[in-house]
């Protein structure tokens, strides 16, 4: 390895009660893409925050190009040539791409008036260097997530970043956009930029990274050359145990028809959708982001209006569709945006799990505390939720435990048709396996599960049947044996 561009030496950081980093050594060379892996809570975020100047370490040094750095703020880090691109992008939506790139570093005429023309010209140059097509005069809110990310990268280039850290950069990108991002990252690598790449998606790491450093419990477990390391080895390093759960679930034969959708069409981009979901099975819904998968789940759940078509639950038509009506028919929805659409972060685990079923624990509108608490405790034990204390605010749990609590909510509501949107987004590898097991248990109890996922290995592993959506239609249904990542992508991207 060449001389490291950035080296972290024996970094330690503790927060009250938590040792976030212990003696972490990490080095990245210029012209290298270095993946940083680890489960949630492993210390990746703390490390990124220290590198980007947002957090100061308790002990240890940051060495950039052989010189020790003492960073007091993100601005200092950026001026030193270190840029962090957060998972949730930090752009001002109604300002133009050019204005965002130059925010805080505006080009002026004599320090008084803004020279927009100059900023737009130079911003366009930066964007062009990334070989993407973005009109920098357009407001950021009109850009796609991938384009916004390019705007952030362009901003980093403006500061001549020699170290670029990306936190889960592909979490909101389509597969095609991911490919485009990889082209950009490889080009930056050729230019000698050192890129720290944080991701949960091991497939991506195999594609893009040269080396990978795995963290666990605030320590570095090891650094490996990606090309010489198997996916299974990486997973074992991350979780510290063998995940045989990642083997596909046994195929389950279909039982009764739980849900029959016919000719469903809506203004929210659904076109003539017909399918059946069976008890005892998982129906996976694959497709690109924007193909109408989420809209389909919402339409079935009564959350969005439909224009045409019928939905039958257990053979009976579901008319006068409302969310309450769907819940009364034992349909449950676990939305993709957990924080925005499912979680009551400051309410207790108990409240979160019993909100839908609250009527069962109330007499004349007054909640009966004991049976409700008994229900919550039973669910916590059943789902192996940590911590066990049902009075804890759910916002403090890990992503995986939060997701289990949301599933628990529908278990409490006795839902047996479960619509699950991206069940493992933002969930670490260990918790993923638990959620898969939970889905397996639901179907074995006779539930019908409809699962939307962008994660193709997940779709292939969990589903008994797979429906592939494109532009608001179901373009193909496959049994699992006849499906592969290649066939799914073939149909999802327009093949026939």
């Amino acid at each position: 390895m060449t001389k490291p561009a950035l080296a972290l030496e024996r970094l330690s950081k503790s927060y009250p009660g938590v040792q976030a980093l212990r003696d972490v050594d990490f080095a990245i060379a210029s012209g290298e893409i270095h993946a940083l892996l680890g489960e949630n809570g492993a210390g990746k975020s703390t490390l990124l925050n220290i590198v980007s100047g947002a957090v100061r370490p308790d002990a240890g040094r940051i060495v950039l190009d052989g010189a020790a750095l003492d960073l007091h703020s993100p601005l200092e880090a950026r001026k030193a040539g270190i840029a962090l691109i957060h998972q949730e992008l930090a752009l001002v939506p109604h300002m133009s791409a050019a204005a965002n790139i130059y925010l805080g570093r505006e080009v002026t005429r004599g320090g008084v008036t803004l020279d927009r023309a100059a900023m737009e010209r130079r911003a366009q140059d930066l964007i062009d260097r990334l070989q993407v097509e973005i009109d920098v005069r357009r407001p950021v809110r009109s850009l796609s997530m991938a384009q916004r990310q390019c705007v952030e990268i362009a901003r980093a280039l403006l500061y001549r970043a020699r170290v670029l850290a990306l936190d889960e950069p592909t979490s909101s990108l389509t597969n095609r956009e991911c490919d485009a991002l990889f082209v950009i990252l490889r080009a930056l690598r050729t230019e000698g930029v050192a890129i720290i790449y944080v991701s949960h998606r091991l497939e991506e790491v195999a594609l893009i990274a040269d080396r990978a450093t795995v963290m666990r419990d605030g320590r570095v477990v090891g650094t490996v050359t990606v090309a010489q390391t198997s996916r299974a080895e990486l997973v074992t390093m991350m979780v510290g145990r063998d995940l045989s759960e990642l083997a596909p679930a046994a195929y389950r034969p279909p039982a009764a028809v739980a849900l029959r959708v016919e000719h469903l069409t809506s203004a929210a981009r659904l076109v003539d959708i017909s399918f059946e979901a069976y008890r005892g099975q998982v129906l996976g819904i694959a497709g690109l982001v924007g193909s109408g998968r989420t809209e389909l789940l919402r339409a079935i759940f009564g959350a969005d209006p439909i224009d045409r078509g019928t939905i039958a639950v257990n053979g009976k038509p579901f008319t006068g569709r409302t969310i309450r009506g769907a819940i009364d028919r034992n349909i449950g929805l676990v939305p993709e945006d957990r924080k925005g659409q499912a979680l009551f972060g400051r309410m207790s685990i108990r409240s979160n799990m019993t909100l839908v079923s609250l009527g069962r624990f109330a007499r004349g509108g007054v909640i009966q505390a004991k049976p409700r608490q008994a229900e919550a405790q039973a669910l916590v034990a059943d789902l192996d939720l940590r911590p066990r204390d049902t009075a804890r605010p759910v916002g403090l749990l890990s992503g995986g435990n939060q997701q289990k609590a949301i599933v628990g909510r529908w278990l409490s509501a006795k839902s047996d048709i479960l619509l699950i949107d991206e069940p493992t987004r933002g969930v670490d590898v260990g918790a993923k396996a638990e959620i898969y097991r939970l889905i397996g248990r639901l179907t074995s109890r006779g539930a019908a599960v409809i699962m939307v996922s962008s994660d193709l290995p997940e779709i292939l592993q969990i589903s008994d049947r797979i429906a592939i959506m494109r532009e608001g239609r179901i373009v193909k249904e496959l049994e699992r044996e006849s499906a592969s990542e290649a066939t799914i992508m073939h149909y999802a991207t327009g093949g026939v």
Partner: protein, 332 residues
């Protein structure tokens, strides 16, 4: 890979998150203690500065003076927990009191009280429907009805106060029961009922859920519109009740009665620890908030501080309360 210590892997992250949980739990405790601490500081300082302050007679007066604000602020607490705001409560108090006084003069006490409460309920329903059904922002809607209801009260009375409030009305809403003023009893009864509703009923749970995450509440089948509308109806009815106490205490119904009460109610609620972002708050905290404000005004009056300065002090206390809250959260 095999030499990794696999046995402690499960343990450490769990311990770490348990520490985070303990920290969070202690923040909630500190917040609660912070409110009590503010209460003790205000009352302690005045007790030291003025020997009359802690007398039973004066503390009774403080409770009496805080009671109208407490009654209205309890309604405000529900509104703010649901992530809303109601700027029209003072105007509703004014309108309800002049309507009640007018009806009372011709049709008797019961009819007057019923009419006043009906005004509060209808006014709250107007707010509620515009916010919950039409989907307008609570701040804008109630800013509009703040002027609308006040204007209606002025039009209704032609700007003139209504005198001749019947004595039974005054003794119900501003009398005493033994040594305790009836407004204080009213405030306590209202607080007990609303506290029960908030903590023990499905309606209360739904209010907290809506304030915490309205979209999630909708996707959980909560009748978001109905719950929100009902919250503003309750706030309107409690404002009318506060208006009754005001009328009974001064012996006249003024169309400008209750002006500025919305600010006192919001202040008591916020000092009491209810989050303006919604989802968090307690009735008990609001009661203490009202007592802090009331104690502050009473104490400053006792010390012959000009009323202008009392406003300055109230303002500082509100900012201080929010600042403390912020500091506590940052320390987390």
């Amino acid at each position: 890979m095999q030499n990794l210590k696999t046995d402690n892997l499960e343990v450490v992250p769990v311990a770490a998150s348990a520490a985070a949980l303990r920290r969070m739990a202690s923040i909630e405790r500190v917040r609660r203690l912070g409110i009590l601490f503010g209460f003790v500081v205000v009352y302690g300082v005045f007790a030291l500065l003025n020997h009359q302050f802690m007398s039973v007679a004066n503390l009774t007066a403080v409770a009496l003076q805080s009671s109208i604000n407490a009654i209205i602020a309890i309604g405000m607490t529900l509104v703010i927990i649901s992530a809303g705001i109601d700027l029209s409560v003072g105007s509703i108090a004014g309108l309800a009191s002049v309507v009640a006084a007018t009806v009372m003069a011709t049709s008797g006490l019961g009819a007057g009280v019923a009419a006043g409460l009906a005004v509060g309920i209808v006014a709250g329903a107007i707010n509620g429907i515009l916010i919950a059904r039409v989907g307008l922002a609570p701040f804008i809607v109630t800013l509009g009805t703040l002027a609308l209801f006040r204007g209606s009260a002025l039009v209704f009375t032609n700007g003139q106060p209504i005198y001749g409030i019947p004595e039974p009305f005054r003794s119900i809403f501003a009398g005493t029961l033994g040594p305790i003023p009836t407004p204080v009893i009213l405030a306590i009864v209202v607080a007990l009922i609303v506290d029960f509703v908030l903590r023990r009923t499905t309606f209360g749970e739904h209010i907290i859920a809506i304030g915490g995450n309205e979209e999630a509440a909708r996707l959980c089948g909560v009748a978001v519109g109905r719950v929100k509308a009902l919250i503003y109806v309750i706030a309107g009815a409690l404002s009318a009740l506060g208006g009754f106490v005001l009328v009974a205490r001064i012996g006249a119904a003024e169309p400008i009665g209750g002006t500025g009460y919305e600010l006192d109610a919001i202040a008591a609620t916020v000092i009491g620890g209810t989050s303006l972002f919604g989802g968090v708050g307690t009735v008990g905290g609001t009661l203490i908030g009202a007592l802090i404000l009331g104690g502050l005004r009473n104490g400053l009056t006792l010390m012959n501080v000009q009323s202008f300065w009392q406003q300055v002090a109230s303002g500082l206390v509100i900012i201080f309360a929010v600042l403390i809250d912020k500091l506590i959260r940052r320390a987390a």
